[in-house]
C-alpha cells in the first residue's frame, strides 16, 4: 500500500511520519501546493506548525490546495490520519468534530503517555485489542480536545495521565464514517526500540491491514 504524507510550510514531523509509514508500506511526500494525491491509499497530515499556526492552530492550513484534494478523498471514503497539528487541521477543515484548545496548564507538554484503546474495531486500531495500553509520546501546547456533541472516541489517556485537560480524557477520535482519524499523541515517534516504544506501529499496521482487506474485496 501507499501512504502520502502532507508537507506544509512549518510541518516538522513529516519525515518521521514518512519513515514510520515506510516500515509498513510505500510512502511519498505530498507538497501543500499540489492537488495531486499520487494515487495514495491513505493520507497522513503530520505534526508541526502549519503556516506558523498564525491566527489559530490549523486554521490557515485547511485552505491549502492539497487540502481540497484531501477533503474530496475523505468524502470518497479514503483513509486520513491526522497527528497532533494534523488533528487540529482536520478539525478546522470540518472532517472531524470538535476543536483543540490550549492545554489547561497553558504549558507545552512533552512526555510519554499511556493510551487506552477505547475502540479496537476501527481502520486505525484493528491491530490492537480493546483496553490495550499503548505507550506513545505527546508534545503540544494546544491539545485540549473539546466537542459540544457526542463523538466516536478511539483512544483515551489512561487514568491520571491526561496531559492537556481534554474532555473525558479523549486522545483520539474518528469521524462518523470511520475513515478519518485524529489524535494528539505521536505514533510516528514510537516505532523503533531506540525510541523507547514500538507501540505507535499499531496505528500504521492497522491502516495497512485495512487497506489490504479492501484491496482483496
Amino acid at each position: 500500500m501507499k501512504f502520502g504524507v502532507v508537507r506544509f510550510p512549518g510541518s516538522c514531523d513529516d519525515v518521521d511520519a514518512l519513515l514510520a509509514a515506510q516500515r509498513v508500506g510505500e510512502a511519498v511526500i505530498l507538497w501543500h501546493q499540489d492537488r495531486d494525491l499520487q494515487g495514495v491509499d491513505a493520507v497522513i497530515i503530520p505534526g508541526g506548525f502549519s503556516y506558523g499556526d498564525y491566527l489559530r492552530v490549523g486554521a490557515i492550513a485547511r485552505f491549502a490546495p492539497v487540502m481540497e484534494s484531501v477533503i474530496e478523498f475523505a468524502h470518497e471514503g479514503g483513509l486520513v490520519l491526522g497527528i497532533c497539528n494534523g488533528f487540529q487541521v482536520l478539525c478546522e477543515a470540518g472532517l472531524l468534530p470538535g476543536a483543540l484548545l490550549p492545554n489547561t496548564t497553558l504549558r507545552f507538554v512533552f512526555r510519554q503517555v499511556n493510551l487506552a484503546v477505547a475502540d479496537p474495531d476501527t481502520a486505525f486500531t484493528r491491530a490492537s485489542g480493546r483496553g490495550q495500553i499503548l505507550s506513545i509520546p505527546v508534545k503540544h501546547t494546544t491539545g485540549r480536545y473539546y466537542s459540544p456533541s457526542p463523538v466516536h472516541v478511539v483512544l483515551r489517556y489512561a487514568p491520571g495521565e491526561n496531559p492537556n485537560g481534554s474532555q473525558e480524557d479523549i486522545a483520539g477520535v474518528v469521524n462518523e464514517d470511520g475513515n478519518v482519524f485524529g489524535l494528539m499523541p505521536h505514533p510516528e515517534h514510537a516505532v523503533d526500540p531506540l525510541m523507547g516504544s514500538t507501540d505507535g506501529l499499531t496505528i500504521f499496521e492497522s491502516i495497512r491491514a485495512h487497506v489490504g482487506d479492501r484491496t482483496l474485496v
Binding site: A59, I60, L101, T104, T105, Y146
Partner: protein, 75 residues
C-alpha cells in the same frame, strides 16, 4: 471602514488565561473582579464591511469555540 473583530472564548468553555488573571488581580489588592476572559482583537480596514461576517465565519473565528463581535473603529 476600519473594523475591529472582538473574539472571545464561548461561554462555558474553560478559559485558563482568564482564570489566571482573575486570580492575579486580588493578589495585587484589586478586589471584586470576576468573569475575566481573554480573547483576541483583529483590526482591519475593509472596503466592503458586509463581507465581515463571512470572513469571521470562514477564517477569523472558529464558531464552535469562539464568539465574535464586529465593531466600527475610528481611523
Amino acid at each position: 471602514m476600519r473594523a475591529r473583530v472582538l473574539v472571545r472564548p464561548k461561554a462555558g468553555i474553560l478559559d485558563p488565561q482568564g482564570q489566571a488573571v482573575e486570580r492575579a488581580l486580588p493578589a495585587l489588592g484589586f478586589e471584586g473582579v470576576e468573569n475575566v476572559h481573554i480573547g483576541r482583537l483583529i483590526e482591519l480596514d475593509v472596503e466592503d464591511p458586509e463581507q465581515l461576517p463571512a470572513m469571521c465565519e470562514r477564517l477569523l473565528v472558529n464558531p464552535l469555540i469562539e464568539d465574535y463581535e464586529i465593531v466600527e473603529a475610528l481611523r
